[in-house]
Structures are given as C-alpha cells and as structure tokens.
Symmetry: C2
Subunit: 457 residues, 2 copies
C-alpha cells in the first residue's frame, strides 16, 4: 500500500487535456508539414558533457541522472542543443526539421501559472548556408500561420537583431564586456518600466546615466522597414559595421515579410533582446494582445526571459553547431520555438468556458440493445462494424439497460446508437438512433455502414 502522488512540477494529462493537446499538435504539425519540414527525435537523456557550457547560468537547472555505474547523464534542457549535437554528429549541413518533445528543468514549479518541471517544447529550425533572410522570413510566416489558426485572438511579433543591439550598445558607449549583461537588463523592458531598467543599468551594472539615457532613446523605437531605413541614416549607428549589417538584413527581411503578407503583425522593436546567449542575428518573439489572467506569468515552455503573453520565440544561431564539431565547422541555423504549454493552458481555459463539450473519443456509434440475451448479437454486429472501419463501442455487460447505454452516449458524445432487438434481427434491420434528436430509423443491415458514415461525416 503506497501513498500515491506525483513529483511537484510534473503532472498527468487526463483524456480531456490529451484531446486538446492533440488538436493543438495537429494544427502545428500540419503547418510544419505544409512548409516541407521533416521530423527527428533524440533521446530524453544526453551525456552530461553535451549539455555543459551551453546554458550559462541556467545550467544549475539541469536534471542529472544518478551515477549507477555508467556514464554521467542529464535530462535534456531544451531541443536546440540536442539538435545541434545531432547535426554535428551526423555531419548534416542542410535540414528543415521540427521536433516536439518534453524537456526538463529543475525550476521552481508554478503549476497554477503553467510552469512545470517537465514540459513540451515544439521547435522548428532551418539549418544550412542560404541566401540572407529567406529562411528567417519563413520562420516568421510559420509563427503567423500557427497563431492565426489556433485562433488565440490578436497578436504581434516583435523582431530585432543581436547585431543591431550590439551596435547600439557600442555607439551608446557600453564597454564591450558589459554587452551581455546590459542585454539581459534590456530584456526586462517587457515586464519593467524604463525607469526601473535604467536604475538597474546605472546602480547594478555600473553604466553612467547618459549612456543609459542614450540606450533609452533607441529602445523606445518601434516600426517597420521604414525604421530600419531611418536607422541606416542615423549618424551614430550608421558608423557601426555590426549595426549596419543587422539593419540591412532587417530591411531585406521586411521585404520578404511583405511578400508573405504578414507585415500587419510584425514590429521591428529595438527593445527586444531575448535571454539566450547563442543568438547571433535576427531574434523574434510573438505576443498575444489580449491578457489572459491565469497563467499570468511566463511559463516554462519558452526560453528564459520571455514576456507576459509570449507564445513563441526564436532567432538565428549560427555558432552553436560548430561547438559540437571537432573542427568547429559552422552550420548556420534559424528557428522558432512555439510556447506550447502556454497555448495548452489557454485552450483548456477556452474549453472550460465554452458550451461545446470536449470529446475524448471519436466513437461514431454504440451497439446497444433494449432486450436481454442479445450480447452475442451485439458483439457480432460490433465486430462487423470494426471490420468495416467504423469506430464502435459496446458495453461490456451481458444485459445492460437501454437507459445506461444511452447515458454512456450522452456522457461521451457518441452521436449514434445502433439498436438490436428480436424484431430487428428477424427483419434484417438495425434501429439507428440519433442521440441528440432521439430520431430513430430502421436501416437494412447491408446499408448500415454507409448510413453511419453519412451521418457522422
């Protein structure tokens, strides 16, 4: 006899949650397939050394396996590092792949807010040496399509470029060794007011007031292609090589986004920084406009540092694969991670407030009887229908009451009942009942399969 419980920060998915999860995955996977993506899978644990040195401070959140007399193993922390390891190990230089799988973080769980220690990631990445900004634009098109189809309300996608950020820091007078730490501070602008961000820059990170103020001017800028053009004329930024490269690519990106008809939702936003170290070029993040009260905080599904309402994020990381190649050969990559756990939470809340009941099975018909001693006839008909590809249930009772059979249909949403009785057997028919309308019709046994298909299209 055990006390039964789960480890805090993990959870079971019940059938209703699984039905919602399946619906969301279907929409997302269809989109990935529409864009010609393949899929791969990697083990849930990697050699510890594979993960070492990839996550900076977050490395402390990695789950290690017990040393039971073999090698040191860790549970995967995200899908990007295993992807880079896979490419390097198999010497793959071109691939467009998606990967949907669970990852693990020893974080403080906040389960009411959708933050778990075990959660799904849902990644799409394009690896390969291509002409600038074409794959990057496709990633944004994919985010746009998925958020549209999931019907989560209005959203916008912020884009920026690490090179623009670095160039901006340089021309504002931030010392090179402080680029990263200032970048993390800028990343807090989605949750903190500029005044507080500035305070952190000055008091904690040691910038002078006027350097911070110069940064403050830039990071308040938002726009589209026009803003990229304007900044290319900026007397200071235009002198910085990195910034110019980033701004030129940003212009190009917007021209492709125009062709993809997604510029209505995309904003060039100089305050977007994103937490992860490995980004080298364009970065982006999709944010839902409507505020959904719970989960009110960042969920674990996304990278560190994403804002309230963020449901997707990603960017270009051209250096990561090279870290796994013995000769350091680089494979340029750009990708996006869909914040699938956040999306599950929203869809679950929508389902709860909706009048439409979530079905957890796809059963089309229940084979039933009002009379006793017809179990064998019920099983025979059930088998006939299974063999014809119909989704059928039958109660596992010798003599169930008709009422309990009908109740089972109402509870689980089965739309039809095929009722057998002595008279129907004699006449070679089956009484087909519509559960919702209670309408009944006698169907010749030979036509039953077609009739069920017709009525459950």
């Amino acid at each position: 006899m055990h006390e039964t419980s789960l480890f805090e920060g993990t959870r079971d998915y019940n059938p209703k949650q699984m039905a919602i999860r399946e619906k969301v995955f279907n929409i997302i996977i269809s989109c990935f397939k529409r864009h010609g993506a393949e899929t791969i899978d990697t083990p849930v644990f990697e050699l510890k050394e594979t993960l070492t040195g990839k996550y900076g401070e977050d490395s402390k959140l990695i789950y290690d396996l017990k040393d039971q007399g073999g090698e040191l193993l860790s549970l995967r922390y995200d899908l990007t590092v295993p992807f880079a390891r896979y490419l390097a190990m198999n010497k793959i230089t071109n691939i467009k792949r998606y990967h949907i799988a669970k990852v693990y973080r020893r974080d403080n769980p906040a389960m009411t807010r959708g933050r778990y220690r075990e959660f799904y990631q849902c990644d799409f990445d394009i690896a390969g040496q291509y002409d600038a900004m074409i794959p990057d634009a496709e990633c944004l098109k994919i985010v746009y399509e998925i958020l549209n189809e999931l019907d989560l309300g209005d959203f916008h996608i912020k884009v920026n470029d690490r090179r623009i950020l670095d160039g901006m820091f340089a021309v504002c007078g931030v010392p090179g060794e402080k680029f990263r730490t200032i970048c993390s501070t800028v990343d807090k602008l989605d949750k903190m007011a500029w005044e507080d961000v500035k305070k952190e820059m000055v008091n904690e990170k040691g910038l002078s007031e006027d350097v911070a103020d110069r940064i403050g001017e830039y990071v308040s800028m938002q726009g589209g292609q026009d803003l990229a053009e304007r900044l290319l004329q900026d007397p200071k930024l235009s002198q910085n090589k990195q910034a110019c490269a980033g701004l030129t690519d940003m212009k190009l990106l917007f021209s492709y986004l125009e062709l993809f008809q997604v510029t209505d939702k995309v904003v060039f936003d100089l305050s977007l920084a994103r937490g992860l170290d490995y980004y080298t070029g364009v970065i982006y993040e999709a944010i839902l406009s409507q505020t959904i009260p719970a989960p009110a905080e960042q969920n674990g599904a996304d990278e560190a540092g994403v804002s309230v309402g963020s449901v997707a994020g990603g960017g270009r990381y051209d250096g990561l694969v090279g870290m796994f190649d013995p000769k350091g050969r680089k494979v340029p990559c750009v990708g996006v991670s869909i914040g699938i756990e956040r999306i599950f939470s929203i869809m679950e809340q929508k389902a709860e407030t909706s009048s439409e009941k979530v079905r957890t099975t796809e059963t089309q018909v229940l084979v039933a009887s009002a009379q006793k001693n017809l179990l064998e006839e019920r099983l025979k008909l059930t088998s006939e229908l299974w063999n014809a590809g119909i989704k059928v249930e039958v109660l596992y009772k010798k003599n169930p009451k008709l009422l309990s059979q009908l109740q089972h249909c109402e509870e689980t949403g089965i739309p039809l009942v095929a009722i057998l009785g002595e008279q129907e057997l004699k006449d070679g028919v089956v009484k087909l009942r519509n559960v919702a309308s209670r309408e009944e019709v006698d169907v010749p046994r030979a036509d039953l399969v077609d009739e069920i298909k017709k009525r459950t299209l």
Copy 2:
C-alpha cells in the same frame, strides 16, 4: 569543442525512421480509436517509491535520478505501473485508454538486435468491473486487427490463464512456494527444448522427475475451445477450483473470439507463462510466423520473457491498482502492449529492401524558376499556395539553377514543380511539371491550387 556522442543504448531517430514510426503509430492509434479508447500521459519520472516493489528482480534495471536536493525520482520502467498509479490517485474505476510513450531500462543494450535502454511502449488497457471475458476478447481482437493491418506476415496469438497454470502446478505436485519460479522456467519453453526446461526444474529448482514429467504432459497441449472443454473433464484438473475457473473463462473467451472472427489465429497453449508477476487471469502473446533474421532476439519493447518473434503481449491484472489505493480497493484491468520497437525494426528492414522510397516530407509542389531575378515572384507564389493549404517548398537561394531545383524534387520525392518565368508571369499562368513523367502543362494561376490538389490526391 566536444566529442559528440550518444549514451550507449539510446539513439536518434532520423527523418526516415520517423516517417516509418509515424506510419506505424497511425495504424495503431486508428485501431485504438476505432475501439473507443481515450489517451492519457504521465510524467517520464515518478517518485521512486511508486515503482518500488512492482517489478521483482527487474527493479535493479530502474534508472534513478541524482538526488539534487529534492525527492528521490526514477524514470518510468513501463506504462502499466504509472497507469495503475493514475487510476488509484484519481479514483478512476472505469476507463479504456491507450498510452504511447518512452520507458527506460538499465539493461545491456543490444542495439543491432533492437534492444535499447530508451524505447517506446504502446499500451492499451481496459479498467473496470465488467462481465467476464468481454474486454479480454476485445484486447485480442485489437492485436489481431493491428497485426493484420501492419502487414507483417502470418502470425498467431497464444492464450493461457494464470489460474490454469497455478491449478496445473498444484495437481502436478509442485509445492505452492515454487509456483512462481516454476512458472518462469515454463516461460523459457519458447526458447529452450523441453529436455532442458525439465533439467532446470529438476536440477536447479528441486522438483522430482515425475512432477516435472506431469508438467511436461500438460504444457505440450495446444488447441482451442475443444481443449478447454476436454481439460474441464480432466480427472485431476477438474478437481482444482482455480483451474476450473480459468478453463470455464477460456471456453467463454473462445466463444467471443468466434463472434469477433479471430479464432483462426488464436491458440490455447498451456506452455505460455509470461514473466511478470502481476498477471492474475488470462495471458496472451502474439508471435510472427516468419523468422526475421535480425533482430533475432527479444527486444526491450516488450515485457521480460517474451519469445523470439513476439510482437505483442498482455493479460489480466486485477490486483495492481489496489497496491496504490490506501484502502486497497481493486480495479480489475486487462491490457495489451504492442512491441512497437520490434515492429519498427521489421518495417525499417522492409523499407530498405523495398523499391519504393520512403518520403520524409509531404511536400506537394516546389515553386521554381529557370530564370534569374525571380526570387520575389517565387516567394509570392509560395505564400499564395501556403495560404491555400498546399504543402510547398521553395529553395532559399536568390537564383537557383533549374537543375538543382529538379534534383531536390527527385531526392525528396516532391511530385510537382510549379515553374515561373517572365513569359508565364505575362500570360498569368504557371508551368506545372510532373517530376516523374516530365510532362509540363500551363495552368492559369487562378486554377493552380485545384490543379495541384487534383494531381496529388
């Protein structure tokens, strides 16, 4: 710079393997849904105490997580114990569910033979207090349907009952405390000759020669409903209450299997024992008739002790859920586990010897051009087709050669190319090329979506 490798006994799935895996899962999941099953998911790690005491000697194969200052955690060893824990924890007394997920065993990997430390299990179970043998018969029907649809060649399904085995041991004179260990020895009959099994019983397990010989007579028996009837008349067995209960249920089971039209593949076989302790009633195992050279040994995907060629197994376990309930309340369960890793291996081998190439994407059309400076037109058309739900790729190059665009189609199996040129743009048409036949036709742009759909049904 790291050496990149994987932990022995784990593997990546490449896109081709994933395509095969998806095909197999689709067949299996469709069958489960046809039978009205819901699905659930549980965490990859459970509290260590949840797994303790459930697997007998195999407990040493459980992976533990490192104690990083929280509770003691273990990776799941199968899906049955988490299922029982889930039922008890949520006080669920009725459910028909499937669960497809990875499990972990610290076994000696034999990867060439398909035995891994991380592998999928694919379980279908029916929990609830129902009339005898109806859910049990459905489990066998499901195995029959899945093996038929997977088209793995001829197969048969052995059935037996733990109560018949126990009754048989009793009437043969095996002391009660040796039932289990003798059961494991009987279980080896699928890999060892009777002479060797007998030797083990006598020399290692301490049975007398004539007790072993009496067992030997019974375990050589195979048949159907007739055998169950005959054994119910057996002067010794008919005196044993357990055996009678098992044989009566076996008769009933066969009558249902008759209605389900699956008796051509089902054999009542008194030598079937199965390794796991928790079975309490009917047990079964499906075996492929044709011998596939590699993987020649039992894979990890199934329970311990399955035979060469075994691709599914299961049985009734009425006591497991009660082990998790504080009051010991029982929930009767019967289920089946599909040996999915073995099936993947077979399907991969079939794919390798087949002339038909496995596609790893579903792309219907590549948008291409033979002329320079048409990137924007290509992207625009690509976007139009994505928006219409067509699966489209476009090369990420400003000016790719037509040859490399056609080669990409041939390598990845894309059936159609939509070719744009100055003339086509002027005429408002797209040249649609069939990659295999090389036939080309000009399609008005407005008809393109329908034409692609028609040609890629």
